[in-house]
Symmetry: C2
Subunit: 372 residues, 2 copies
């Protein structure tokens, strides 16, 4: 399927991409186009990731952008490309260019929902968000759509999120806000540790809200960053909640670490532990797996200080279980659809959090048989 | 269940333990006893890990060692303790001390198989090995037993391996050989990334082979290290192959890396990827998941140089898929019970390998419901 988003006017654009060294062709192209910091159109295909396709793949991505630029009579550097699907197959570029005229003729301000549908792969539900706030004299709107992945469809190997806003904002402020929002949203959900070759978050701003142009470091910048983070977090949680097989979404919060990186590392080790994730699926209140994950995170924690809470129940104090009574209580917490496991390391004041999901039969089923 | 191993005479002992900061009481005790570098007896209980049990747990481990030392009339520092099972429950130390007289009365040179049975938790098969070689005038025998875990039973959170030898060997040589053998065996199998609170490998030597005492850096040292590595690798592969749910054991070999650490990191990223492991289970020749794992390993690889082989079939050359014909051929490789995926990074001359298993429904089933 194909999606095309076009802004009435060009504007600053910001992007955050996969850190995977095996980056897909559309990611390489978008990084290149991002150098001009201006965008107008985004075209996305689902079904084929255009990754591990070499020069051929890069040419295909370029052709995709050029065809859009040509038909819309806009500079090719203002066209951004996304792809998601199977890795290692040639992109059927002819089918894409042939479909372009129809795609363009159907462009509409009401097309958001259809666009959000068309970027999906095995997602069960489309993911969209709209948030608004008054910023410096203008009513600023941010709309977003995402595709992913969660822990369920990572075979598609891709989390894509496209945000648009009518805010007037400097390109540098937009990039900084998007990086910050991504770090607190899409980078806080654990899929299954597999960073895709195609992960992309783009935010295009066109200034039509007529607010005073937002500059980095100002109060209006902070208001915009908050708004963008809110939109990104909403999409990120939708990714977690969506998908066959996910029966639980659990927030892992780590406090009292010496540094934010240490806090994040501990949170990530718990959130990606297959043992913890299968225990979630089985609603087995196996808190020992949380302790084991904390211990192997590589962070120099002091086990004798660790406190572990499941929602409001303290299960571990000074590194030792608080007894069978608490175990009975957390058994009930494990039956909730969503809950928080909070770890206090009592070493410093840094914190971090992650959202994770359970590891279910359906995860294995979907991922064992996706391609064939 | 309880296991007791006693040597006729005391001798040097070497140990390698979990790097988990939340180390179980028996690990803390063994590390302490290892300072004297001499051992005579090893006692192991299954069913309870004695981890996250605080001072109470440490006292229980000490009591376990002291009771054995007392009844055998040997120094307590020469008694080593192992525990495996559920985390966070008090060790039923009275039951253990009460069982000791019976345990001691049944000590026998024929008891190896029973001992190997008694350390198991949810393992399907006992794991034992015996290897022999002539070293410096003596016939040296190494016997070993292991318990684990594999990717299947890591809820038990523990890989235990106990090796004994009649070699005459200096304590420093024994420790070095055990570290090296462990790095090339137990540290090369991926369970599921979850390092246990209890992982322990011990090697006790009693010198009864009457060879000239093996010193570090000699030819006989190298012969002993090879022999010990052979025994450890055999046990490690048994751990991989054992267990419900494992349908495949796959060797991941990485060559042409700039450093051994980089090679290991790439191998580990592939070997622990849930996407790759579910593809193995589904016999889905999804080589894109291997490329994605290589790319996200954190190693500065150059995607345009990467070669990927499945057994003898080249599927990726210069980072690009070699076509549908190769895909058909590797589909057959994926149906084998055991095969090798070999990655060449073409950046240097360092290499590393790991053994991994598939991620199956049974993995989820067993781990979702182990405790309850």
């Amino acid at each position: 399927m194909l999606t095309l988003c076009v802004s009435d006017v060009s504007g600053p654009i910001a992007g955050v991409f996969t850190k995977n060294r095996v980056a897909a062709a559309p990611v390489l192209l978008d990084r290149h186009h991002l150098q001009s910091h201006r965008g107008r159109a985004i075209i996305v295909n689902s079904g084929n990731a255009n990754a591990c396709t070499g020069e051929q793949g890069l040419l295909a991505a370029q052709t995709m952008a050029t065809a859009v630029a040509h038909r819309l009579a806009i500079p090719v550097q203002q066209v951004f490309v996304g792809s998601t699907g199977v890795i290692g197959r040639a992109l059927p570029i002819d089918r894409i260019t042939r479909a372009l005229p129809t795609l363009i003729s159907r462009l509409s301000v009401q097309g958001g929902h259809q666009a959000a549908q068309a970027i999906l792969t095995t997602d069960l539900r489309p993911k969209t968000v709209v948030v608004q706030a008054k910023i410096d004299g203008g009513l600023v709107t941010i709309g977003g759509m995402a595709k992913g992945s969660g822990m369920i469809h990572p075979n598609m190997a891709t989390m894509l999120a496209y945000l648009t806003t009518d805010a007037a904002i400097a390109a540098s402020a937009l990039q900084r806000a998007l990086k910050s929002a991504t770090d607190r949203s899409f980078n806080c959900i654990t899929v299954d540790g597999d960073t895709s070759t195609n992960d992309t978050v783009l935010c295009l701003a066109n200034g039509l809200a007529k607010n005073r142009t937002i500059q980095p470091g100002t109060r209006s910048y902070r208001a915009f960053e908050r708004l963008l983070t809110e939109a990104a977090q909403a999409l990120a949680l939708m990714i977690c909640r969506d998908g066959e097989g996910v029966t639980k979404v659990v927030k892992v919060r780590v406090e009292g670490a010496t540094t934010p990186a240490a806090a994040k590392r501990v949170a990530e080790t718990i959130a990606t532990s297959n043992l913890f994730k299968t225990a979630l699926f089985g609603e087995d209140a196996n808190w020992g797996r949380v302790m084991a994950a904390i211990g192997r995170s590589g962070v120099a924690i002091n086990p004798d200080r660790v406190v572990v809470r499941f929602d409001d129940i303290v299960m571990v104090r000074r590194g030792v279980g608080t007894g069978l009574d608490a175990e009975k209580k957390i058994a009930k917490v494990f039956k909730r659809k969503e809950f928080t496991v909070a770890i206090h390391l009592a070493q410093g004041s840094a914190d971090a959090h992650m959202w994770t999901t359970d590891l279910s039969y359906d995860y294995v089923r979907i991922n064992a048989s996706y391609r064939s």
